[in-house]
């Protein structure tokens, strides 16, 4: 059984079906990519799956449990985490603190202990900070640990969001355009990172415009167009699917995808 399965999910804004009867499932240890032209409904789909929007129709199952329209924090408790296309970083906190927030569910949450700074809380703080530092090293941001997020460069913030999401030790991780705005070196680092995350046993769902990245790292690819599923399959199948080529990839995209896979 799939760790994440989405069935016939849909939402409309002012009469426009932004996402229309989309179904897919993601597997542990694999990278599942969602591609499509701008406005295809990729981010909206993420928002539906992660509980930010309430779907009009359809179902989301996480680890076999029906979780449709649950609050994002309830989904987080069940092991779903995500990053955002438009950065949602805690700008008034340092990089380390940002990642520590990701540890929230793993931390003890007794208010009285927090108010009185009992030894358990101080120990907790140290523990979270250590884990945060490890994760920052993993995404290559160790040097920024004490820097305020507001003074970090854009590319670094993308990876900071990934570190924060990883801090929750998710079973399913939704990454919304993690390489957008990153230079080729950074993109390559992110690609490697995505692979290792999947290899650690996380189901990664990826929305990305960088076809090279998608084709190289994905186990399966879903193509969305105008809120609907156009095709789904392995990268090679997608690349050769005439509907996809016609509607989305075009000749340029095909060439690029070919280059990437060769």
């Amino acid at each position: 059984m799939s760790i994440l399965s989405v069935q016939d999910i849909g939402i409309a804004f002012g009469g426009v079906r932004a996402v229309d009867n989309v179904s897919f499932s993601a597997e542990t240890g694999q990278v599942f990519s969602i591609i499509g032209p701008n406005g295809a409904g990729k981010t909206t789909l993420f928002n539906l799956v992660s509980g930010v929007y309430q779907p009009k129709s359809g179902q989301v199952r996480l680890d076999g449990e029906a979780v449709t329209a649950l609050e994002p924090n309830r989904l987080a408790e069940r092991g779903l985490s995500r990053t955002f296309q438009n950065l949602q970083v805690f700008f008034r906190m340092t990089a380390r603190e940002n990642v520590m927030v990701g540890r929230h569910l793993k931390e003890s949450r007794g208010l009285l202990a927090h108010l009185l700074a009992l030894p358990s809380t101080l120990r907790q703080n140290r523990e979270s900070a250590e884990i945060a530092d490890t994760l920052l090293s993993r995404v290559g941001l160790a040097d920024y640990a004490d820097t305020l997020a507001s003074s970090m460069p854009y590319g670094a913030l993308k990876r900071l969001e990934i570190a924060r999401a990883l801090a929750a030790e998710p079973k399913v991780l939704l990454l919304d355009e993690p390489a957008a705005g990153c230079n080729p070196v950074e993109t390559e680092e992110i690609e490697k990172l995505i692979r290792t995350i999947a290899d650690d046993g996380v189901a990664v769902v990826l929305v990305e415009h960088d076809m090279k990245l998608v084709m190289r790292s994905s186990d399966r690819v879903l193509v969305l167009d105008q809120g609907r599923v156009l095709a789904e399959g392995k990268g090679a199948e997608i690349r050769s699917n005439p509907k996809v080529i016609e509607a989305y990839l075009g000749t340029h995209g095909t060439r690029e995808a070919n280059l990437a896979l060769n």
């Binding site: 994002p72 987080a76 995500r82 929230h104 108010l115």
Partner: protein, 314 residues
């Protein structure tokens, strides 16, 4: 040096040092009283700053909690001969419960809508205090019986200076503890991005209510202290203008700065005392200085000066 200042306990220690040092410098019990008023306001402002500066939720009704705390130590001893300390405790408890009950629906609102809802809520409390004269003495207020501790009548400006100063240090200590804890991180997170906080597993509604309750308890304790210091309470402690004054103290001192809370309280308590010499120009000058401070130090006194200081060093 830097590490010393960034330590969690630096701020409460600085405040404690200030309380001790000032006690030597202040020449008469009038000055001690003004200082005690600063400590009391600062205590309420720290609580409000946790709500506004850290969690990003505005409240224009906090004087309501302040007033409830003040009236608790006036009414409960008078009606049920409760000891003032227990009355203050009861007041804090009641404020906490009320904040808990109204927090969830009110804190669903955002920005200016939250402002007007808390404003309305504060006005309801102030109206009830002012109108239910059978209990509260009405607009003319009611006396507060002097507190006795182990047979010793607590009185005198100097005694209250130390009691309120001590309360402030404890309040600041608890506040810095909170800010540095998982709860504090959750609050600061939801201030910057509610959606990211929720995705990180934070029950945003619940944490907002938590900090609302905490800040209500701070206000209540501050209100109880003021009533005990004054030996008399009037409904003005609960009214809308006092709420605005508390918010102004938060912003002038600096949102998200515990030390700033003390600075903001000090400015707005001491300034009117200094301006009395200007008689009819007093209010003009007060308004003018508020505007100038906010234009020049737009992030509030402490954060703006800290930033300036750091830039200098670089």
């Amino acid at each position: 040096m830097q590490a010393l200042f960034s330590h969690r306990l630096a701020v409460p220690l600085v405040i404690a040092a200030l309380v001790v040092a000032l006690s030597f410098a202040l020449p008469s019990s009038f000055y001690l009283r003004v200082a005690a008023l600063v400590w009391i306001s600062a205590l309420a402002v720290i609580g409000l700053n946790l709500l506004m500066g850290y969690a990003g939720q505005v409240s224009l009704g906090h004087a309501g909690f302040f007033g409830l705390g003040a009236y608790a130590v006036a009414v409960l001893p008078a009606q049920f001969s409760l000891h003032p300390l227990l009355a203050a405790l009861a007041g804090a408890l009641v404020c906490g419960l009320i904040a808990f009950a109204v927090g969830r629906p009110i804190l669903k609102l955002k920005g200016h809508y939250l402002a007007v809802a808390t404003l309305g809520f504060g006005i309801l409390i102030a109206m009830a205090i002012s109108n239910e004269s059978w209990l509260t003495g009405g607009p003319d207020g009611m006396p507060v019986s002097r507190m006795t501790l182990f047979g010793w009548r607590v009185r005198g400006a100097e005694t209250w200076y130390w009691i309120t100063g001590g309360l402030l240090v404890v309040g600041a200590w608890i506040a810095v503890n909170l800010v540095a804890s998982p709860t504090g991180r959750a609050l600061r997170a939801l201030h910057d991005s509610e959606v990211a906080a929720r995705v990180a597993g934070i029950d945003v509604a619940r944490y907002k209510v938590r900090v609302f309750v905490i800040s209500a308890v701070y206000a209540s304790v501050a209100g109880s202290s003021l009533a005990l210091v004054n030996g008399f309470v009037t409904p003005e402690t609960a009214n809308f203008l006092h709420s605005i004054e508390l918010v102004t103290m938060v912003v002038v001192g600096g949102m998200g700065s515990i030390l700033g809370s003390v600075a903001g309280a000090a400015i707005l308590v001491v300034l009117p005392q200094l301006l009395t010499t200007f008689h009819e120009y007093e209010h003009m000058l007060l308004g003018l200085m508020m505007m100038v401070i906010m234009i020049v130090l737009r992030s509030g006194i402490v954060p703006s000066l800290a930033a300036l200081f750091q830039r200098r060093r670089k």
